[in-house]
Symmetry: C2
Subunit: 335 residues, 2 copies
């Protein structure tokens, strides 16, 4: 079977070091599924991992995948051969940039029946990141009524995570404020359900005044945490919560959290799969909820660009686009 990988870390300026190679199709064991990958999406984290040291070459990148179960391990109880599934997987396995992939069934759910593979591929990693941030970190209620009156600021509302996080937060009863700057990202974020879209070219405290927003309960940062660290502390309520998914470039002063007793979390969607926590099946639960909400017409996919054919070139081009940081919604590649 075919895979695309690289033997060492590389920057885009180094040229395209991805190459295509053949590997034996692996056999699933215990809780594992073998999935024939049909569609993938590319995420910012793929570009970050590409630049980290390769432990075992060649390394195959890729999280999100949609495909069909081709074989199952002995311990598998939730899936059968032929099931259409979607997932974001685990860094402990080779990624989804290949035609067949092994994935742990605890990280997988059935694909929503009413949407295409392309649409489904846009959802797992960003959806899981948003679910973990909202439910595990901020501990918002699964009962939307109990979240009424609470507010969230999502920095970079039109990005991949921002787009789905906006929909989830809105559905679960939060007042959702996002940021964007261009006309098209502003409109995109509105379409995702944002109540208010601030212009992040302006000072956000000024934007809060302009829209008569008082401090918010939660802030979810999906862009340049260093730049927003002190501003978020200014804009969150006393005893409020801040989460980021973007690593810092610099050390920070944690004492700034003290006057308001602020809680800060570095959300990382792979923490459960990497540590194989006892509760890692929560990824299946969250993906199942996403699937049901999609089938009920509550959430919509966040695809903004579709590429035909996974090749060394299309993958490299996707990485270029993602690193550009101007991506609206998600980029999906059909195998």
């Amino acid at each position: 079977m075919k895979a695309i990988g690289a033997d060492k870390s590389f920057n885009l300026e180094d040229g395209n070091l991805f190459y295509e190679f053949a590997v034996d199709t692996p056999k699933p064991e215990q809780y594992e599924l073998l999935v024939r990958v049909e569609t993938i999406s590319v995420n910012p984290v793929d570009t970050k991992i590409r630049k980290t040291e390769v432990e075992q070459a060649p390394r195959i990148l890729g999280f999100d995948a949609v495909g069909v179960v081709e074989a199952v391990g002995d311990g598998v109880s939730h899936f059968d051969i032929g099931d259409e599934v979607f997932y974001s997987g685990s860094p402990k396995y080779q990624g989804s940039n290949q035609s067949y992939q092994i994935v742990d069934e605890r990280l997988v759910a059935k694909k929503p029946k009413n949407i295409s593979n392309v649409d489904a591929a846009s959802l797992p990693l960003t959806g899981l990141t948003a679910y973990e941030t909202l439910f595990d970190v901020f501990k918002i209620s699964f009962n939307p009524e109990e979240n009424k009156g609470k507010s969230i600021l999502i920095i970079n509302g039109a990005g991949g995570v921002g787009s789905i996080a906006t929909q989830i937060a809105k559905h679960y009863g939060l007042h959702v404020i996002t940021t964007a700057s261009r006309e098209e990202t502003h409109q995109w974020s509105k379409d995702m359900g944002a109540d208010i879209v601030l212009n992040h070219k302006n000072d956000l405290a000024e934007e809060f005044k302009k829209y008569e927003i008082s401090e918010v309960d939660y802030i979810f940062c999906t862009f340049d945490t260093d730049m927003y660290y002190e501003k978020m502390i200014e804009l969150v309520k006393p005893r409020g919560m801040i989460a980021t998914i973007v690593a810092f470039k610099n050390k920070q002063d944690l004492n700034l959290l003290k006057p308001k007793s602020i809680t800060f979390t570095h959300e990382f969607m792979s923490s459960r799969p990497i540590h194989e926590t006892e509760d890692m099946q929560i990824h299946r639960d969250y993906l199942t909820d996403i699937s049901e909400k999609i089938e009920a017409g509550i959430y919509k996919p966040t695809v903004n660009e579709v590429v035909d054919g996974l090749t060394v070139e299309t993958l490299y081009d996707a990485h270029v686009k993602l690193e550009n940081q101007s991506m609206i919604g998600k980029l999906v590649i059909k195998l």
Copy 2:
């Protein structure tokens, strides 16, 4: 009436800059109580504030107080003249190192009936800090059954906050691991209800191995956060929570929180009173719960040293002892 204060910030080496002076007894307004202060306790935070700039001289320090309500504002609904109360108060008012003090009724509860003023004075600030950390930050359940199987590490279990936090965590169903080093602090922490007391002179990861402790759900740091920052990240579970009440000396790398998606909070008991949050009456609720648990024999006071008479000298001596950082439990002064 008599008060003890200082006109400027000072270090202990500067000598004793506290002095006694007379002030008019203030009149309570709206939600305020005027309390005749009978007993106080001294906390590490008093010594820290003593070293910060004085905004309006003379500054009267002191949080914890036990006393009798002498007058009430028009909006007061929970207290009558003559009620015996205990509280930790707010930095927005002058402190408890005086014979009469104004305090907001939302921060006050009735003193436990079955213990002395001395014993009661040991509880408010440390109790509130522990309640906020356990219930607001870690969000443990008020139903002990739901906390079963969860574990907490309390660094410096024999300190003022550690002593009451141990009792509360134990009562609410957590498995409580503390640290101490001297024989007497080890025994004190055991007496407070610790299941296991580690020796913090040794590497805590080694101590975890020795006692066959796996990673814990929660870590509460009440001593030298810089020293324990990386160690706590090592010892907490994936998606675990860390809180501290001790300010950092240095900036820290927040990316270290990422691999396990760790949540970090700088707990600060004064954040609600300072910001006069809508929910600041939760301090009354927490103190009421503490009072009831004391009356039911569930918690016990944490007094370890009693001083007779609040004078310029006894207050200075108390600050010396607190800054020494070898304090076991609490130091209380009878006016």
